[in-house]
Amino acid sequence: MIEEVGTSPEGDLIINVGPQHPSTHGVLHLVITLNGETVKNCEPHLGYIHRSIEKMCESLSYRQFIYVTSRMDYLSSHINNQGCSLTVEKALQIEVPERGKVIRVLMAELTRMASHLLWWGALGMDVGAFTPFFHAFREREVINDIMEETCGARLTMNYIVPGGVMYDIHPNFQQKVKDFITLFKSKIDEYDTLVTGNIIFQQRMKGVGYISGEDALSYGCTGPVLRASGVKCDIRKIAPYDGYEKVQFEEIIETGCDSYARYLVRMKELKQSLSIIEQLLDNIPEGEFQAKTKAVLKLPKGEFYSRVETARGEFGVYIISEGGLTPYRIKFRSPGFSNLSALHHMTKGSKLGDLVATMGTLDLVIPDIDR
């Protein structure tokens, strides 16, 4: 219907951005009202890749449903798995061995780095620079190779299981990560030369997609989006899990509230993740990597919730159990959905190019929004 109307009653152009559009990073559909180049309204329409993952999980056992969550936010699949495993462990009161915890944190931080690198490249594409994408993939590929060697897959690893991790780390893991750290440190300045310092990029980012801290809170934004508006919200700090309380890292807070602040938060988080990895890499404790668990997991009757910090923000897993083999109901709180809901607030009155840039800094992963 909208396609037929074409113009709003006020004579503004109504344009369907997506579901097939280069800058929506997937099958997101935005209906935008344009007055000249100015975006008057922007309305996201979801549902193009809804796979009813939550419903699917209700028919899967507590070991099985975890692998499905890798397919939600596929860029931080480890962290999703970690969130689910944490909930199951919380319900069954399983204590994960120290080695398992450290491996989990290492993997989660590597995933976060990979995710931020992909975001950085994709943001470059959004603002019209093609080269950063390949430069980001050069480093990301190294992370993926490390993942492949230890976990067996590059993107949807299903490595973290209730009780710990599926295997022990590969013997080469530590050396490879060390090589990666050296490589990354030599390349991170290039990112600043190529993109951050670039005057065109700064002009495209500064003052664009403004959202104040209160607004961001009221929209339920989390992660780098909220931190860029000056609100502390890192789950790794406020409710540490898997031993995050033992590592030294900074929670990055920026007060710019605009796209540039969000950009800076992620770029600084890359360095923080690197420092976490450096702290843990040589101190992986000996011992078991997985707690002894029963072959068949049965959660006690009740409601369980736990949350983790993914690369995009707070990811919550809420399980209602009736005591059976499968969960009665599962609800995922995905960061992308809430962050997307703030999009129309951020882009009202901005230019069409700003809409794309803002969407880029929100770091949307559509399967995460549209489960």
Binding site: L13, G128, T131, N198, I200
Partner: protein, 362 residues
């Protein structure tokens, strides 16, 4: 110095002796037309391949290396694919204008090839207003884009066309001013005279400060005029999918694509002609000792090589821009023109005039 003038004269005489004057002229026109079309196609193929290789190396990739020797036949294969692909016309499109637009763009690109001097004597049309002709005809190419954007009956195309209209019309001013600055030095609009005036050194060296400023402005303005990144607002792919040629496919898309590259070649050829002496070898002023010896030595390299070398170096520069910079926003783009390039260009024109009057150039 080796010259192609004799060759063209021989052909001219032979034709005039065989046929009467009118038919000889018509035959010459046909020959020139065929040459222009061939040049158009060859330039398109070469430049597309060059772009792909340049982008690949800047993006730490290998680029096309499968079709033909080191991938040289890649663009030919792509063109073949585009030729045999179905040309698709959307519903409710203005079919006449939709089909006309790519040809208009192509014809204009070919017309612009006319006054380019490839080497001494190898020039299709050495008209006495050469530079003015170039800027006049290139101002028509915006119509092709507007036509394509309007006739597609697609809102992305329409926005793209609007953007490119605003952009090309504004940046034409700066490009024109930059050229004008150099015309103050050369004192002529004719391409051959402009080149001849650089016998004792290229204008970029002889004209020093104003010439360099004008060159920078010219390169920025023509990058915008040819719709290249970082000014590719008309086809900003992350915003408008493909802008004005969203609905084009097959051969008609290929024409837009080739015309874009030929336009790049033309603007770079103009820059090479005005600032770097076209086919003129690197000469130095006679006041410097051993200058004659040096100039003679430089003359051994044929003019075609000098011309293509300079032009392709400038094309490389424009490609370098594209694969390094992010895209500007439309209002920043217009700000850059009206707040920076145009005032600087005008000031520069005054400076150049003053220098020309005082004779402070070499």
């Amino acid at each position: 110095m080796f010259s192609l003038e004799n060759l063209t004269h021989i052909i001219d005489h032979a034709l005039n002796n065989t046929f009467n004057a009118t038919i000889a002229m018509l035959i010459e026109m046909v020959i020139v037309g065929i040459c222009a079309i061939t040049l158009f196609a060859v330039l398109g193929l070469v430049l597309v391949f060059m772009e792909r290789k340049v982008s690949a190396y800047m993006q730490i990739r290998l680029g096309p290396n499968r079709v033909g020797y080191k991938g040289l036949a890649q663009t030919a294969a792509d063109t073949l694919k585009l030729v045999i692909k179905e040309g698709f016309t959307p519903d409710n499109a203005d079919k006449f204008l939709f089909n006309l637009a790519p040809f208009l763009v192509m014809i204009i690109a070919m017309m612009l090839l006319a006054p380019i001097a490839f080497t001494k004597g190898l020039q299709m049309w050495d008209l006495n207003i050469g530079v003015l002709y170039l800027s006049a005809v290139s101002s028509v190419s915006v119509i092709g884009i507007l036509m394509a954007g309007w006739a597609s009956n697609n809102k992305y195309s329409l926005i793209g066309a609007m953007r490119s209209g605003a952009q090309i019309v504004s940046y034409e001013l700066s490009a024109g001013l930059a050229v004008l600055t150099m015309i103050v030095f050369t004192g002529s609009l004719q391409i051959s005279t402009i080149i001849a005036s650089q016998q004792d050194g290229w204008w970029i060296f002889k004209g020093h400060i104003p010439a360099i400023i004008s060159f920078v402005i010219f390169i920025i303005a023509v990058t915008a005029e040819t719709n290249r990144a970082p000014f590719d607002m008309a086809e900003a792919e992350s915003e408008l999918t493909a802008g004005f040629h969203t609905e084009y496919s097959g051969m008609r898309f290929a024409l837009f694509f080739l015309a874009e590259y030929v336009n790049i070649f033309i603007v770079c050829a103009i820059a090479a002609t005005i600032y770097f002496g076209g086919w003129m070898p690197f000469h130095i002023s006679h006041s410097i000792p051993f200058a004659d010896l040096f100039n003679k030595g430089m003359d051994f390299i044929p003019g075609v090589l000098w011309f293509t070398g300079k032009t392709f170096a400038l094309i490389f520069l424009i490609m370098w821009f594209r694969w390094t910079f992010p895209r500007l926003r439309i209002d920043q783009l217009l700000n850059l023109e009206w707040k920076y390039l145009l005032p600087i260009g005008m000031f520069n024109l005054l400076l150049a005039t003053a220098i020309a009057i005082l004779g402070w150039y070499f």
